[in-house]
């Protein structure tokens, strides 16, 4: 029953977002809104302020402590987390039709988990495997043509969109093998805490890598909330495109406007 409700919710949310691009039209006012579609802006801003407070009290100090770890320890932890993420990336490679990449990532996972001692060492990169690119279900929905839908800020987890939330739900209903063997199914090899520790460490690792960048962004922002929203949406678009070209996160006509001066 739970699964049926979840499937229903995902379908509805994706249908809702299917035609929603980032350049949105406010149907009530008829005003053209050039910002990304931020349907719940007031709630989002409140959640953002809450997360920001939490960050200052908990995440930032923890990330600073994490930075004190010796560099090889941090690299090893980062490698382990990247290796685990292959478990979500591989099914998404398949769903996106990139079977070659799925095969490469499967070999990468096998090599790093064994020779690389549970992923601590990125042996695959050392022997010349192509650069690893993470994929998730939100990105897969994007490649299938689903629009991002409304922008949402989740408590603790931070920025997302309706499409990405739907992707996360897929992970929890069987799409993430790591979640399946730790939390969902009672295996004798892993416990629930393994999953949560890996997720929290992943968050701290990300925060530690972006300490100065985020501080810089906040100090120089006129509207920090809008900056983070733009960063998140542009970053997700880029990840969906997976482009190695040196451009094109944006429409060139954006720039033509300034030529009319």
């Amino acid at each position: 029953m739970k699964k049926i409700i979840l499937t229903f919710l995902i379908t509805i949310s994706l249908l809702f977002s299917a035609h929603a691009g980032s350049e949105s039209e406010n149907s009530l006012s008829g005003k053209k809104n050039t910002n990304p579609k931020d349907c719940f802006e007031k709630v989002n801003r409140a959640t953002f302020a809450f997360n920001n407070g939490l960050d200052k009290v908990i995440f930032k100090p923890v990330a600073k402590l994490y930075r004190q770890l010796p560099s090889p320890a941090r690299t090893g932890l980062g490698n382990m987390l990247n290796n685990l993420s292959n478990l979500t990336t591989i099914p998404n490679n398949i769903l996106q039709g990139s079977l070659d990449t799925a095969g490469t990532n499967l070999a990468r996972f096998g090599l790093n988990s064994t020779v690389g001692i549970l992923g601590i060492f990125d042996v695959a990169s050392s022997v010349g495997f192509p650069e690893y690119i993470k994929e998730d279900y939100g990105q897969t929905f994007g490649t299938m043509g689903f629009g991002e839908g409304c922008y949402v800020v989740l408590p603790v987890l931070g920025p997302s969109t309706v499409r990405d939330v739907a992707g996360t739900v897929i992970s929890f209903v069987g799409g993430d093998p790591w979640y399946n063997v730790t939390v969902k199914n009672d295996t004798q090899y892993f416990t629930e805490s393994d999953y949560y520790v890996s997720r929290i460490t992943g968050g701290v690792d990300f925060r530690a890598k972006n300490l100065e960048t985020l501080e810089n962004l906040e100090n120089n922002a006129i509207d920090f909330y809008a900056s983070v929203r733009s960063l998140y949406i542009q970053d997700r678009k880029q990840k969906i495109i997976n482009s190695k070209k040196i451009i094109d996160t944006q429409n060139d006509s954006d720039w033509e406007e300034i030529d009319t001066e």
Binding site: N220, R229, Q234, I247, W255
Partner: protein, 200 residues
């Protein structure tokens, strides 16, 4: 006939000289970015005080960035409804905001190692130059692309920096738009915020 030939030769020589001198003056966007990166890197790696670094970085930005272009781009469609006086007021305050924000962001770095790799001409007006900020023990490698306006090939200017696919000009445009929209479309709210930032 001889005179005609001489005149023809004269014009031919003039043509070649002018063509050659134009080519020698025009700067490849890739080399342009490399020279700015080198200048900035030199400033940041020296033992100047933070204030001295900021002052020197501001000079580089004034010389090599199309601040007015970025300012108008950041304003988006709101620009069209502004009077000339208001536009001037906006550009004046935007320049101060931009220079302060740009230089204080950069001044945080000490000796960044940037490798300029490639360039791709988008059209007559724009070329993208790609580079990477090399990894340090704390940070992974970061891909940085530079949008260069080449309307005047002898004087290319930076108009956007795209970090890992995220355009900083676009972030700023959405930020400004958000400020204006949350204040019922009033451009003065943005001017007030910019002034507040410049004076803090």
């Amino acid at each position: 006939m001889n005179l005609k030939k001489k005149i023809f030769k004269f014009f031919l020589i003039i043509y070649f000289i002018s063509t050659h001198s134009t080519n020698s003056l025009s700067l490849e966007p890739k080399d342009f970015v490399q020279s700015i990166v080198d200048q900035a890197s030199q400033i940041l790696s020296k033992s100047y005080s933070k204030e001295e670094k900021i002052a020197k970085l501001k000079l580089i930005a004034k010389e090599n960035v199309d601040i007015k272009g970025i300012g108008f781009y950041s304003l988006g469609s709101h620009r069209k409804s502004l009077s000339d006086d208001k536009k001037k007021e906006y550009i004046d305050i935007f320049e101060q905001y931009f220079l302060k924000s740009f230089s204080s962001r950069l001044a945080e770095y000490t000796d960044p190692k940037i490798e300029v790799n490639d360039q791709e001409k988008l059209n007559e007006k724009y070329t993208m130059v790609s580079s990477v900020l090399l990894a340090t023990k704390d940070k992974p490698q970061i891909k940085i692309d530079w949008r260069i306006i080449t309307k005047n090939p002898d004087k290319p200017l930076i108009i956007d920096v795209v970090i890992e696919g995220v355009s900083l000009a676009k972030v700023q445009k959405e930020e400004f738009n958000s400020t204006i929209q949350t204040n019922d479309g009033d451009i003065n709210s943005l001017l007030f915020s910019l002034k507040e930032f410049v004076n803090k």
